[in-house]
Amino acid sequence: MPNVLTYAEVRAGDLRKISLEAVSTARALADAYGGEVHVVLSGGPGVGSHAGTLGEHGADAVFVTEHEALAQYNPEALSALVAGRARNGYSAVLVGASARGRDLAPRVAAKLGAAILSDVTSLRREGDALVATHPVYTGKVLATLRLTSGDAAAVVSLRPGAFSATQAPRTARVEAAPPAGDPSAVRVQVKETTTADSRKLDLAEAPVIVSGGRGLKAAQNFKLVEDLAAAFGNAAVGATRAVTDDGWRPHSDQIGQTGRQVSPELYVAVGISGAIQHIAGMRASRCIVAINKDAEAPIFKVADYGIVGDVFEVVPALTAAIRELRARS
């Protein structure tokens, strides 16, 4: 069973980046086995147009299933479809560990009676075994998982961003595949999908978070934080409990022990003194930059970089500098 199967995730008509990461990872694995990369591409009518992009990243065959009832995430129909395809003999089924993939992967594994490796950050073949890395304890420990070959294909979910999407152009065979059963005759019907604010990056996913505290003095001054986040281009806006309690920001923006617990690449704390409740929610960030006028503020103890100064002077200057840098690159 040298072939590797992947699932291409399409959301709101767009092929998600994780799908290309999965195809590239499948390509590397299939090369190690000397097999092909097959992709399940399903969605509403027209979804097949993404087959070309998948081919550019190394897919040999794309099985396209178009159906109105597959336009939105349909866990029952989709898991039946992927599992059905997987029964044709594959060494592994790769799925992105996105919100959808985290739901789909165990369903497929259960249907196949197969082993599952969840949320892995590396994957390679070692003889007959699959070897993967899985971070535990919020990344403090990396567990190495070794899966010896079984009868069924191993299901693996890949952490988004951990694998790179690389070009390996070829022309993929495109085959239309029927859905498994009637996708509209399922028990769970998705009636509607609502997004909080399409312009806003989700705090959990954003690589950069700019957070504001009571040092901003008033709700309208949060504009400084929003501007800085906008300058980064890929930043979300967070806030402390004090700020959300005072109603300057919605409670969903709160970062801390009792709010969202985040670990972005870069965390910029603006006018935040660093109460333990807040620190507990962001200390796992890769790099922490603190801006506060009080040099004694506890936030500086956890910060990698600290700027002691007036946020009303420092932040606009920083925003301008980042805008300039981004304009140049």
Partner: protein
């Protein structure tokens, strides 16, 4: 025997029988409670002392400067008038019965005077109480669907008893004025008035007979009305005070240990039959005075919780469920589902509690409102896994990291870097043992602000030459947050682990600057087999200063106004009020220590207790803001605390606003004046 004697004897018998029936019924209801209240007859001297002070001397009642003396008057009056009531009841059966027949006249006169003065005073007090209820209507007598009509009825009955009693004496006096005027100061003017009006003798006789019958029958009616009203209080308050543990015996404020191995269908309590008989007796005892609710920080700041409602609900549900359970018939599903938890007391009420103990402390009849709240919380968490979602990370961190925040245990002693403080492990390797163990606590280990207090205390200890050590990464959360949030399972895991660690190093003496660690390790570990001498840093520093062991700089420094905020687990839980104030006075010679409106045993919680530190406060005014405003209103330059949680709550309140008052720990005040 005359006809009237016969009729009265019958009334008396019926009254006694009916009362006895009700007494037995109410005692049977108590037996539905399945929880264990422990022994309530241990340490009799302590219990008698509580009865004498809180009960007879009305010490808690008198904390209210207006209603207190009025109630005490009525209560003491009742005691004195009991003697007269017995005489009257006997008179009904034995014509002409009088104590005067058995004692010399002067002794009888003392008795008469006592009855006269008391009746007059009670009448005045009842009048004032009626005025208060009907006209003044104080806030604490409103809300929680209290039975205000019931209160007015009972006050009216008492007034009627007093008036008829005086009329009996007065008419007696008209017919046969055998006693000096001086021993009947109330009834003699009435008698004089009756005579001045020229009332015919047969009318006087009629007034006497009517007053006597009204009075005697009212006594019986009153007695039998009590079991059907909140005024059951009159009968059970003294026994309840005797049987209560809220002022000792034993260590106060200690949550009962739960048997996690017990074969039971429920952990904690969802209904009254899961509680203890003492909790149900508390329900009988409550007369809805609302002192508890008026001091509750959650209630004051607009949350759903009202400790009085918790007790009223307990009684209401007992009265609803118990008749079915004692009749032996299995209650139907609807009745079962109409349980105490959810149907009477909601989750929101329970999670609003800061466990500050103000309600328990204030109760004049030693009711334990907090115990019911804690048991219901235990049920929510252990039996139904229902708790505010933001608590989950705290539970998880406690389980994995041994701290309520997910900090690695290896960084626990980071604050001590470069301070040359040995760990127990290091000392024991060298075969040494310290004078005391300094238990740092999670706040002191991980919170950057609290770490400054930790360092300050460590500097004081070093300056005083105290040989101390820390546990470093072997220390774990004491378990208080888990226990107060109802997660007894997690609590016992943490506590047992700590006891093992402490016992391994044969630790006996512990000092700590966290009142929660202090209370847990010193008071609550006992039931798990951990016996330690734990001293709070305020007490320890006060003693070191007293002994002159802390070298302080001579410079007096600038005059400061400092207000000290009492921590609940130091004050109401452990009675430590003076030590922190002593430390402040001794550490800073030129200062003015002022008191907030609510201080010492009346102190308002900072809002962090009972696990509230790890919950959101979405309703009403924030407790820490309320408290900070009160502290700032004293005009103090600085707020002093002796608890890291108070520090973070009060430090946070009002931050960034004009006129912000900084918060410091008492140890920091002392450390700031250390020589070199």
């Amino acid at each position: 025997m005359t006809l009237s004697q016969g009729i009265f004897a019958l009334c008396l018998a019926i009254g006694a029988a009916f009362f006895s029936y009700n007494a037995q019924r109410l005692v049977r209801y108590l037996r539905i409670a399945g929880g264990s209240a422990g022994s309530r007859l241990n340490d009799i001297p302590r219990r008698l002392w509580n009865l004498l002070t809180i009960g007879f001397a009305q010490t808690k009642i008198l904390r209210d400067p207006v209603a207190g003396p009025l109630h005490a008057m009525v209560f003491w009056g009742f005691l004195v008038l009991q003697v007269g009531a017995i005489e009257i009841l006997v008179q009904g059966v034995v014509r002409g019965f009088s104590y005067g027949n058995f004692v010399p006249a002067p002794v009888h006169w003392v008795f008469l005077l006592s009855q006269e003065l008391t009746a007059g005073a009670v009448l005045v007090a009842v009048g004032a109480l009626l005025y208060r209820r009907i006209v003044v209507r104080p806030k604490r007598l409103q809300g929680d669907r209290v039975h205000s009509g019931d209160a007015i009825l009972i006050l009216a009955m008492i007034a009627a008893l007093m008036i008829t009693l005086m009329l009996v004496s007065a008419t007696h006096r008209v017919i046969n004025s055998e006693h000096p005027v001086a021993v009947q100061p109330v009834s003699s003017p009435i008698a004089a008035m009756i005579m001045a009006l020229g009332t015919p003798p047969n009318v006087v006789e009629a007034i006497l007979a009517t007053s006597w019958w009204t009075h005697a029958l009212l006594i019986l009616v009153f007695l039998n009305y009590l079991p059907y009203s909140k005024h059951l209080h009159v009968i059970v308050s003294l026994p309840n005070t005797f049987l209560s543990n809220t002022s000792g015996p034993g260590r106060v404020g200690v949550m009962p240990l739960m048997d996690l191995e017990a074969e039971t269908e429920h952990f904690g309590a969802a209904d009254v039959d899961h509680l203890t008989w003492k909790n149900l007796l508390d329900g009988y005892t409550c007369t809805e005075c609302g002192r508890c609710t008026s001091v509750c920080p959650a209630n004051i700041t607009g949350k759903a919780l009202s400790p009085r409602k918790i007790v009223i609900n307990t009684r209401e549900r007992t009265m609803e469920l118990a008749p079915h359970l004692v009749s032996g018939a299995a209650p139907n599903g609807d009745l079962r589902e109409h349980r105490l938890l959810d149907q009477f007391i909601t989750e929101d009420e329970l999670w609003a509690c800061t466990s500050c103990r103000a309600c328990v402390y204030e109760c004049p009849v030693s009711i334990d409102q907090l115990e019911v709240i804690n048991e219901l919380r235990r049920y929510l968490v252990l039996s139904e896994s229902r708790f505010p979602e933001e608590v989950q990370p705290a539970f998880e961190a406690l389980e994995r990291n041994g701290a309520p925040w997910a900090f690695p245990p290896s960084s626990r002693a980071d604050w001590a870097a470069g301070l040359d403080i040995p760990t127990m492990a290091e000392l024991s390797e060298r075969g040494e043992s310290p004078e005391v163990l300094y238990w740092v606590g999670c706040m002191g280990s991980f919170d950057e602000r609290a770490k400054k207090t930790t360092v300050a205390f460590a500097r004081i200890l070093k300056a005083a030459g105290v040989r101390f050590a820390i546990l470093g990464q072997e220390e774990s959360c004491n378990g208080d947050p888990a226990r107060r949030m109802g997660n007894e399972y997690l609590y016992q895991m943490l506590a047992k682990q700590n006891i093992e660690t402490l016992d391994r190093y044969k630790v006996k003496a512990i000092i700590t600057n966290c009142p929660h660690c202090f209370h847990q390790i010193g008071n609550e570990y006992e039931s798990l087999g951990g016996h330690y001498e734990v001293v709070h840093h305020s007490t320890y520093i006060a003693a070191l200063l007293q002994e002159g062991r802390i070298p302080l700089r001579e410079t007096a420094g600038a005059a400061q106004r400092i207000v000290y905020h009492d921590a609940c687990y130091l004050g109401r839980y452990n009675g430590i009020y003076d030590a922190p104030r002593d430390v402040i006075r001794q550490a800073l010679p030129v200062l003015d220590v002022v008191e907030a409106k609510r201080s010492k045993d009346r102190s308002l919680c900072c809002g962090a207790g009972g696990g509230r530190m790890w919950m959101e406060e979405r309703t009403g005014k924030r407790i820490n803001v309320e408290r900070k405003e009160e502290l700032a209103a004293t005009g103090a330059d600085t707020v002093a605390v002796a608890c890291p949680f108070c520090m973070t709550m009060l430090g946070d309140a009002g931050k960034g606003t004009e006129g912000y008052v900084p918060v410091v720990d008492v140890a920091e005040l002392v450390a700031s004046r250390l020589k070199a």
